[in-house]
C-alpha cells in the first residue's frame, strides 16, 4: 500500500477504485469523494433556498425548458458571482466548487417550478431530487402506496396527471374501470368459518369446478363469480382495469392472480386496504384517473360516497355461508343451497353490456367533439345515467303503500329516485298512462285498480332487480307481497335490507378479504 493511501486512511479513508493501478490519483478527487460522503446531505437546505430565489425571478414557469437554458436563466437572474462562475467553469473540482456545481445543477433542474415539489419519493422531490425531510411534509400530499410505499404526490401534481391521463384515455379509446373484488367478482371465505362438512363438500367440488380455488397458504377458499372471466375478457379491449379492494395487499394480489393468470388485465394496478386515503371509504383520488373517464363496479354503494355517479352497482355475490350471516341475507348462501348463478344471466353479464354501451356512447362523441371544440370532454357519468335511463323507458310508475300519502317530498324517496334514474315516469295517481303499480301491500286501492285494468302490480324488489340487472325485470317474478308477511320476508320482497348506507359500507369493509378485515370493524 502506498504512503498516500495510508495518509488518506488517517484523515477519512477514501481511495477511488483506479488508485489500485498504482498510477496515483489526483488528490482533489479523493477530497471530493470524501466531501460527498460526508457533506452531501448538508447542502440540501441551501440548495432549496437558492431554487426559491430563482423561481421567483423566473416569470414564466415553462415545463419543457432544458436544463442548460434554465441554468443560464438562473445565472442571469441571480446576481451571485459564483453562479456565473459555475456555468463558465464546468470542470472545477475542488470541494467548494463541487458543492456549488451540485447546487447549481439542482437549481437548473428545478428552476421552472420547484418548489413547490410535485411529489416526494422517500422524501426526495421527484423532479429535482432535493431532500425535503427538514421542511414540514406537505400536508395535502396524496400517498400512492400501491405504486411505491414511499411515494407521495402533491394535489396539483395528481390533478396534472389526471388531465394527462384523460388525454391518453381519449387517444387510446380505453376508459378506466375500477373493480371491486369481494362479492362483485368473487367471494372468499376463511377456512375456519366453514363447517367440517362444508369443507369436505368443497374439497370434493374443487376437482371439477374451475372457478373454485383453495388457497391453503392463506387458509382461504375462493369462488370466482360465474362469468367473471368472460366479463374481464369483454372489458379488456375497452377499459384499463384496476382492482380496488378493502382486503389486504397479499389477498388482493392472490385474487388478481386467480382472475388474471396471464397478468395482462391488471398489471400492477392493484389498490388494497391501506392504500386508500380514508378508512372504509374508497375514493378515486388514488386511481389517478379523471373522474369523467372512470367507471366503478362495486356491490356496496356506501363505500363510494364521492363517486356515486361513476358507480355501477353489482348484485352482491354471496357464495359462502359466513358472508350470508354477515350480510343477514334472507336467502341462504349459494353453497348451502347447492346452486350457483348462471354465467349468462347474472349481473356481471348485464354490467358487461352496460359497459360496452357506455364505451360506445363515449367514443363517437369524443371524435365529434375533437373536430369541433378544443375542450373535448368525455363524461362517462352522463353516458352512464343515459344508459340507465333506457332501462325503464316508457314505464309510468305509481307507488302504493311505499311512503305515507302526506309525505312532503315523495320525490326524494329512494325508490322514487331510483325509478327516475332508470328512466321511468313517476306519477302520484293512477290513470290511463300508468303501466306499473309498485306496492308495499296487496290490498291497496291502487293494486286493486291495477288488477281491474290489467296493469302490472309489482313489489319494490322489481325496481331494484331492474336496476341491478340493467333491464326491465320480469314482472311475474315480483308479485306484490301480502300484508300478512313477516318482516324478514317483507324485507326479502323489498329486495334490500333496512341498513343504512354507512352500515353497508362497514360490513363491506369487514367482509373484504374473506373476512380477514373483521378485527378492524368500525368501532375500532
Amino acid at each position: 500500500m502506498s504512503e498516500r493511501d495510508l495518509n488518506a486512511l488517517d484523515a477519512a479513508p477514501a481511495s477511488p477504485l483506479h488508485s489500485e493501478d498504482g498510477s496515483g490519483v489526483d488528490p482533489s478527487l479523493a477530497d471530493e469523494l470524501d466531501a460527498l460522503l460526508d457533506g452531501e446531505n448538508g447542502t440540501e437546505a441551501s440548495a432549496s433556498e437558492a431554487t426559491a430565489g430563482q423561481q421567483s425571478a423566473q416569470a414564466e414557469p415553462e415545463q419543457g425548458s432544458h436544463a442548460a437554458a434554465a441554468g443560464a436563466d438562473a445565472g442571469t437572474a441571480t446576481s451571485e458571482p459564483t453562479s456565473r462562475k459555475r456555468t463558465a467553469d464546468e470542470e472545477a473540482t475542488g470541494h467548494e466548487s463541487s458543492l456549488k456545481r451540485l447546487k447549481g445543477d439542482d437549481g437548473a433542474e428545478s428552476a421552472p417550478i420547484c418548489p413547490p415539489h410535485p411529489g416526494l419519493m422517500h422524501g426526495m422531490c421527484i423532479r429535482c431530487g432535493t431532500l425535503v425531510t427538514q421542511e414540514p411534509q406537505q400536508e395535502d400530499g396524496l400517498a400512492l402506496r400501491y405504486i411505491h410505499d414511499r411515494l407521495q404526490l402533491s394535489q396539483s401534481e395528481a390533478a396534472r396527471l389526471r388531465q394527462r391521463e384523460l388525454k391518453r384515455v381519449i387517444a387510446s379509446r380505453r376508459l378506466l374501470l375500477v373493480l371491486d373484488l369481494d362479492h362483485t367478482l368473487l367471494n372468499s371465505t376463511r377456512e375456519v368459518e366453514l363447517s367440517p362438512e362444508l369443507r369436505e363438500t368443497l374439497s370434493g367440488m374443487a376437482t371439477d369446478q374451475e372457478d373454485l380455488h383453495h388457497l391453503p397458504h392463506m387458509g382461504m377458499w375462493t369462488k370466482l363469480r360465474p362469468g367473471s372471466a368472460a366479463f374481464l375478457q369483454k372489458c379488456a379491449p375497452l377499459f384499463e382495469m384496476c382492482i380496488y379492494t378493502h382486503g389486504d395487499r397479499e389477498y388482493a394480489v392472490a385474487m388478481a392472480q386467480l382472475l388474471d393468470p396471464g397478468g395482462s388485465y391488471f398489471g400492477n394496478h392493484i389498490i388494497s386496504q391501506g392504500d386508500s386515503t380514508h378508512i372504509h371509504v374508497k375514493d378515486l383520488d388514488v386511481v389517478l384517473g379523471d373522474d369523467t373517464a372512470v367507471l366503478i363496479v362495486d356491490d356496496t354503494p356506501g363505500v363510494w360516497p364521492n363517486h356515486a355517479r361513476n358507480l355501477i352497482q353489482a348484485e352482491r355475490y354471496i357464495y359462502f355461508p359466513a358472508d350470508a350471516v354477515r350480510w343477514e341475507t334472507v336467502q341462504r348462501a349459494l353453497l348451502e343451497r347447492g346452486c350457483d348463478e348462471s354465467a349468462d344471466d347474472n349481473c356481471l353479464h348485464g354490467i358487461g353490456e352496460v359497459l360496452v354501451k357506455v364505451h360506445a356512447r363515449a367514443f363517437p362523441c369524443v371524435e365529434h367533439q375533437a373536430n369541433g371544440s378544443a375542450s373535448a370532454r368525455v363524461d362517462v357519468r352522463e353516458h352512464l345515467s343515459a344508459v340507465a335511463h333506457t332501462v325503464l323507458a316508457g314505464c309510468t310508475i305509481v307507488f302504493s303503500r311505499i311512503f305515507p300519502m302526506d309525505l312532503a317530498f315523495p320525490e326524494q324517496h329512494r325508490l322514487w329516485q331510483l325509478a327516475v334514474q332508470l328512466g321511468a315516469v313517476v306519477s302520484k295517481v293512477t290513470d290511463a298512462s300508468t303501466t306499473h303499480v309498485v306496492a308495499g301491500g296487496d290490498r291497496t286501492d291502487k293494486v286493486l285498480w291495477a288488477k281491474r285494468h290489467r296493469v302490472h302490480a309489482v313489489s319494490p324488489a322489481w325496481l331494484h332487480a331492474s336496476g341491478l340487472h340493467w333491464r326491465k325485470a320480469d314482472e311475474a317474478k315480483f308479485p306484490v307481497a301480502g300484508d300478512a308477511l313477516s318482516s324478514p320476508q317483507r324485507r326479502a320482497a323489498e329486495g334490500v335490507g333496512d341498513r343504512s348506507i354507512e352500515e353497508d359500507a362497514a360490513i363491506a369493509a369487514a367482509a373484504a378479504g374473506g373476512g380477514g378485515g373483521a378485527p378492524q370493524a368500525p368501532h375500532a
Binding site: 481511495s15 477504485l17 436544463a67 433542474e109 421527484i126 429535482c128 431530487g129 411505491h148 396527471l161
Partner: protein, 174 residues
Amino acid sequence: MFYFQDIIKEVELHPKYFGRKLTRHIEEQIQKEVEGSCSGKYGYIVVVYAFNSISQGRIREGGGCATFTVNFKACCMRPFKNEVLQATVDVVNKVGFFCTAGPLKIFVSNYLIPEEFEFQMAEEAAFVSSDDEVRIKIGCQVRVRVVGVRIEANDCTCVASMKDDYLGVVAIMD
C-alpha cells in the same frame, strides 16, 4: 460508483471459535455481517476485498465473547449526485418508472423523462417516444443521471433523470 474503501469495524466472536482458525472465523464473521449490507456513509458494501489488520481481542466480562477491531478494504457501491448509471427498468406506471442498477433502486419521474415520451398502456405499460421508435418498458436498459440520493439504514434510493444528452434507452433485454 464502485470504489475501494477501508473500513474499521468491531466484531464479536463466541469463545467456541478461539483456536487455530481464529483469524479465519473473524474474517468469515465480517464477511457475513457486511457483504450485501448498506450503510449511510459508504452505500452498499459489495464485497470484502482484503483484510488490513485485526486487533488483539478483548474478552468481554460475563459473556466470554471477544471483540476484535478489524480494518478491512471493501468494494462499495454508492450513487452520487450527477453520476450516470445504467439500470434495468422493472416497473412502469403513470407517475414514472422504477429501475435498478445492481442493488440500487432508482425512480425516474415523468418530469425527468424527455417530453417526447408519452405514457401508454396499450399492451403493457410503457413510455413511448413520439416517433414510436423507442419504448421504455419493463426489462429494457436505460442510462440515467442521478439527481437525488437518499441512503437509509438498510436501503438506498435514488431519483434520477433521463432528460439530458447521452441518456436514454440503450438496449432491450428479452
